[in-house]
């Protein structure tokens, strides 16, 4: 079952240990970006090499792995990563959120509440929440050290002054444990509240940028806002055409040449776990 010639989880044991040390530091300093010796992986940068390395370092023979991309288990990249771990670890995989011990995700947080003992591993493209405002890493490092996040507050203020609301709709910055500004990865802002006081451990891996960070269980995660302009998560004002859900995040589908739109749950497992609307699905 396991691919011959490769160690369990693809990475060698010393590399896994190095990554686990970085993870421990990350958990001890919630939201702080820990540099780590990211390895080249057999999947391209941008495809989730950071998340894959984190998963590879924590996965054990009795784990059950779920992999989602855009909330779905059957998107090509999720299939590819799940197959990769199946080849190099042989562990059980699942599509059910509740059954998984490790969930690797790109761009979504599952709709179902996660519980203690589960680990949510995020794939992160740009770990630095300030990079659009200050591209120099040496400079942003200083800003984090001084908790100098004025730049981000000014951006938010300017958004509100010009447009009446924050214009950031995904990868919406959060303050972790009242200390570090953190990128939640490009999840929709709709998912941000799920990070707050989550019972599961949240680990973030950025392979190309060589950074790891974490949010331990039951940690405060606050989306940046102002008292008179509180954070507002948004979703399409519609119901899923398959299950009728009005509380889940929806993908928009164009279903004919006339531009007719349908909405479906982005979280395929959540959608499948609900009774289908027989009529609409006909």
């Amino acid at each position: 079952m396991i691919e011959a010639g490769y160690n369990f989880g693809y990475l060698d044991e010393n590399t896994k240990r190095m990554i686990r040390r970085a993870l421990l530091q990350a958990v001890a300093l919630p939201g702080y970006q820990v540099p780590f010796g990211s390895r080249e992986m057999p999947l391209p940068y941008g495809w989730g090499t950071g998340g894959i390395q984190v998963t590879a370092s924590i996965i054990g023979a009795d784990d059950t792995l779920k992999v989602i991309d855009q909330g779905a288990d059957d998107t090509t990249n999720a299939v590819s990563i799940r197959r990769f771990f199946n080849r190099v670890t042989g562990v059980a995989t699942t599509e059910h959120t509740a059954e998984a011990t490790i969930i690797q995700t790109r761009h979504r947080v599952p709709e179902a509440k996660l519980r203690e003992g589960q680990v949510l591993v995020y794939q992160v493209p740009m770990p630095e929440p300030l990079f659009r405002l200050e591209p120099r890493v040496a400079e942003t490092k200083r800003m984090h050290a001084l908790a100098d996040y004025g730049l981000m507050h000014v951006k938010l203020y300017e958004d509100i002054a010009q447009h009446g609301a924050a214009t950031t709709s995904y990868n919406y910055p959060v303050l972790v444990n009242g200390r570090y500004l953190m990128s939640p990865s490009p999840i929709p802002a709709f998912d941000n509240p799920k990070l707050d006081m989550m019972p599961a451990l949240q680990l973030f891996g950025a392979g190309r940028e060589k950074r790891i960070y974490a949010v331990p269980p039951y940690t405060e995660v606050r989306s940046l806002d102002f008292e008179d302009h509180p954070f507002q998560p948004a979703r399409a004002d519609a119901a899923c055409v398959i299950c009728g859900a009005r509380d889940s995040y929806l993908d928009e589908l164009i279903v004919d040449d006339g531009g007719k739109r349908h909405f479906v749950c982005s979280d395929t497992d959540y959608c499948a776990s609900r009774p289908p609307l027989v009529e609409a699905a006909a």
Binding site: P44, Y45, R83, P186
Partner: protein, 354 residues
């Protein structure tokens, strides 16, 4: 009614099968062997070894074949293999001064000890398509051979340094950083940026080096010396305590000679930019030397305002495996983010219309 937009296991499997078939091309034609790639597309193999930072001609040739000639994809394949190999030690520093020269030229001196050795070069060919190569040829006649000149070939930069005209490099016995194990922590020492440039993308470095010649971080370079040939790789096993020869590899080295106006503590003198790559990679070695000199601006007290002088700009963007990954990941699904942008845009427009 529900459009099946999401791919699945079968779609991926079929795509890979189609890729295999496309790679093979017309089955009526003989299949390209890895040995043929290694022998007859040698410069492609060299480039893949350099950017894959792994010296193994056979594996690099296999990567070129597997990647259907896409050299960045081939470098990626080689790196993904390299990363799984156990490290059992580091070689002794190679002595390029003792190189068995195949090519050695200087643009700063008409003649010098050891002479100018042109070697196998395209430099003076007329770029006319040679239709004779399209036909199957008789065996190529061997090139005329002379007697090897035993004269040692001192480095041009060393000749200048003896005269006091070339700035001496600072030497250090410290263990150099290893960027494949430790992330870059800016500002980084020269040893780290030279590693990054040596595996950096030839095209990117070529453009950056070119920019320094066109006024973006002026460096007034001369090709002091370019040499290509075999060097001996030695390794000292801890249990033996003395160095043993592992074999020979081909390297290309370039030392650029650049003006330096001097500073408060130093008189005007020449400075150097350094390039070193696996195999025969002259364009890359020269571009690397130009960019290396650009990155030394801060150390030499020169203004730092051009892209080729910015450590973060050059080093974060010169790696083509990183760059291609992040650029090409844009073709992965982004439905969720795009959906949230759609909703945001609609609500902003609604707000503006009110």
């Amino acid at each position: 009614m529900y459009v099946a937009v999401k791919g699945g296991e079968r779609a991926i499997g079929n795509a890979h099968a189609w890729l295999d078939e496309t790679r093979r091309g017309d089955p009526a034609l003989p299949e390209l062997s890895v040995e043929q790639v290694e022998q007859q597309l040698g410069l492609a193999v060299d480039r893949v070894m350099a950017e894959g930072s792994c010296h193994d001609r056979g594996l690099a040739a296999l990567a070129v074949k597997q990647a259907r000639g896409d050299l960045i994809e081939a470098a990626f394949l080689l790196r993904a293999y390299r990363t799984t190999l156990a490290r059992f030690g580091a070689s002794e520093p190679v002595e390029t001064g003792a190189m068995r020269i195949q090519r050695r030229i200087s643009a700063t001196y008409k003649d010098l000890p050891g002479g100018q050795v042109l070697g196998p070069t395209y430099d003076y060919t007329h770029r006319l398509l040679d239709f004779a190569l399209a036909a199957e040829r008789e065996a190529v006649a061997p090139a005329p051979e002379g007697v090897a000149d035993p004269t040692p070939m001192p480095r041009v930069t060393e000749l200048l340094a003896k005269e006091g005209l070339m700035r001496r490099e600072t030497t250090s016995e410290a263990e150099p950083p290893d960027l494949t194990r430790d992330p870059l922590n800016f500002p980084v020492p020269r040893a780290a940026w030279l590693q990054a440039l040596a595996r950096g993308d030839e095209g990117f470095l070529l453009g950056l080096g070119y920019s320094t010649q066109r006024g973006y971080g002026n460096s007034h370079p001369f090709a002091g010396e370019i040499r290509m040939g075999e060097v001996t790789v030695e390794f000292t096993p801890p249990e033996l305590g003395f160095a043993i020869e592992l074999g020979e590899i081909v390297l290309t080295e370039c030392q650029m000679v650049n003006q330096f106006a001097g500073s408060k503590s130093e008189p005007p003198q020449f400075t150097r930019g350094y390039g070193l790559v696996f195999g025969h990679g002259e364009r890359k070695a020269m571009a690397m030397a130009l960019v290396d000199r650009g990155l030394r601006a801060e150390e030499l007290g020169e203004p730092v305002d051009a892209p080729a002088q910015s450590q973060e700009f050059v080093l974060y963007h010169c790696d083509n495996v990183e760059a291609t990954g992040f650029v090409e990941h844009l073709k992965l699904p982004h439905y969720v983010d795009f959906q949230s942008e759609l909703e945001k845009l609609r609500s902003l427009r609604q707000e503006a219309g009110r």
